[in-house]
Amino acid sequence: MGFDLSDLQALMGGSFEEPTGESGGVWVVSPDGLIDDAMLRLIGKGRVVADALGGYVYLLAGCNGAGADTEGAIRAGADKVLTAGGMPTVNELADFFRERQPQAVLLPRNRLGKALGPGLAQTLGGSLCPYAADLAVDPIYQRIVAHQPILDDAARMQVILLAAPAVAVMETALLPAAFNEPWRQGEVGDTQLMWSEPPSHEMVDRPARPITLKTSPVVVVAGQGLTDDAGFAAAMELADALGGVVAGDVTALDMGWIGEESLVGLTGETIGPELVIALGVDGDTSFMMGVAEAGCLVAAQADAGAPIVPFADYNVVGDPAEFARAFAKAARG
């Protein structure tokens, strides 16, 4: 007498039969068949959820799995990799899943995932988290709980997905690194399905409002610690690499590097972007109040005792120009 694994799983509310066929389980969908690091992370999250529920992880890859690293997908946690031709529409995907009754469907939060996820949940009568950073299973009721970032990801709201399938459109960049477990085994199969061909696109320039100091999510602020024009050039290079704008504090204005319209601080613009990189800025009251609303402040300057140090989230103490060049390179990847 004693517990075996199936009893334990039953107790945990999971299935106590070995899952067979292709029903239930957690499905990870790559509509264009691409399996990159983001998809591998998503498979890993599917694995964690499937283990908690007691089920299989399936990867469904469109475009005949072109570019699909099936081996990698299995090492990352997929039990079965299924391919199909073309790219699915909402209805095609819904038809595929209707009899398979998945418990959860995970899609990456990219153009395709965002276009398919909501419609899929709606068509199948499931539930949806359109923006999930994490997915968990609550141990008591075995419900799938998505974590949706709120307030610029200062916190996450738990969203309990009540109806099956639980469709989660997931921000893969927020997921932990992918598993790479060579001992894992899995199957590769073909659904024999031929989905729609992706439509061809007439490409045009993207209409957008010009990015300004006030609206740019990333701002590089130059200060006199950059010492010379070459130092300021490094700041511009970094702003370029980060896709942000370059601005300056009062000292940069005095050096003639920036115009008044690019001045950050109480005497110029008060800004609240996601990220501020201050280069060679030691941080007077005016500057610091000008960036008080920034989501994250990185400071690179030479003085470990400068007022900016305790105020910045991250400090690099040293030559700001040298750091800027190195960081531009690191950011470009």
Partner: protein, 256 residues
């Protein structure tokens, strides 16, 4: 041509704090606001109307104060607004059912526009769901619409650039911010928006919706708090090492 714009009253994220001790949102100073993302959808609708005529109807689902959003839509230029009073939990499924019923009660629509969903908006963007519910094609990430003799075209964000596609009506589009900022409400419209005749108040029962159709597909659980912001961290090493380490940290925070 009738264009329906889904608009929602949300909370201004700047007025919401996080109580770390109670692990919940501190909503004492929370201020309702029309979800800014939805104003882009309304702007797109108004521009189409200006170019080819027709009628713009804002549909707002919400409780008490959501009426203000309906009035604001009128003040921005909507011909009228429908305020669907619904006090229950407004999950994405619930909202979709209500908006779909409203479109039907309006006698249909040629185009339904919705925004991309805001911070704190757990019901999420509605366009994808609505397209599926109505059985109409979805235009994702629309930045702009062009009214041309040959018909209506959408310019939509696509892989860093944009693509231009003909809009086959009826259709649903999710509108994301493009080159135009949503217009300010006009004073002469503000002056009349609270008068009779601009906002119709409907409810679920009137639209023939049963409780089951409106049951929420999701419900809110607690809050998961990230690590508290820690200022003053110093990253050591050579500039290259520091740069690599920092890039890693910022990537983890999705700041790069």
């Amino acid at each position: 041509m009738r264009i329906v714009v889904c608009m929602k009253q949300g909370i201004d994220p700047k007025t919401v704090k996080i109580s770390r001790s109670r692990e919940e949102l501190d909503l004492r100073e929370a201020r309702p606001q029309t979800q800014p993302e939805d104003k882009h959808a309304l702007e797109a609708a108004l521009r189409i109307r200006e170019a080819r005529g027709g009628e713009v109807v804002a549909v707002v689902v919400g409780s008490r104060s959501a009426e203000d959003t309906a009035r604001e839509a009128v003040a921005m230029g909507a011909d009228k607004a429908v305020w669907i009073v619904y006090k229950g939990q407004r999950s994405g499924k619930t909202m979709t059912a209500l908006v779909k019923a409203a479109v039907e009660r309006l006698g249909g629509a040629d185009l339904v526009l919705a925004g991309q969903g805001g911070d704190l908006d757990t019901a999420g963007p509605l366009a994808g769901r609505l397209a599926a519910a109505l059985g109409w094609p979805l235009i994702a990430d629309a930045l702009r619409f062009d009214v041309e003799p040959a018909g209506l075209y959408a310019v939509a964000a696509f892989e860093g650039k944009a693509t231009r596609l003909p809009v086959v009506l009826p259709a649903v589009a999710e509108v994301i911010p493009g080159a135009e900022r949503p217009r300010y409400p006009h004073p002469s419209r503000i002056a009349v928006a609270w008068n009779d005749g601009y906002v119709e108040t409907w409810n679920a029962a009137e639209m023939g919706l049963e409780e089951e159709a409106l049951a929420a597909d999701a419900e809110m659980g607690g809050l998961v708090l990230g690590a508290e912001r820690q200022r003053g961290q110093v990253i050591g090493g050579s500039p290259e090492q520091a740069a690599e380490e920092l890039a890693g940290i910022l990537r983890g925070k999705r700041l790069l």
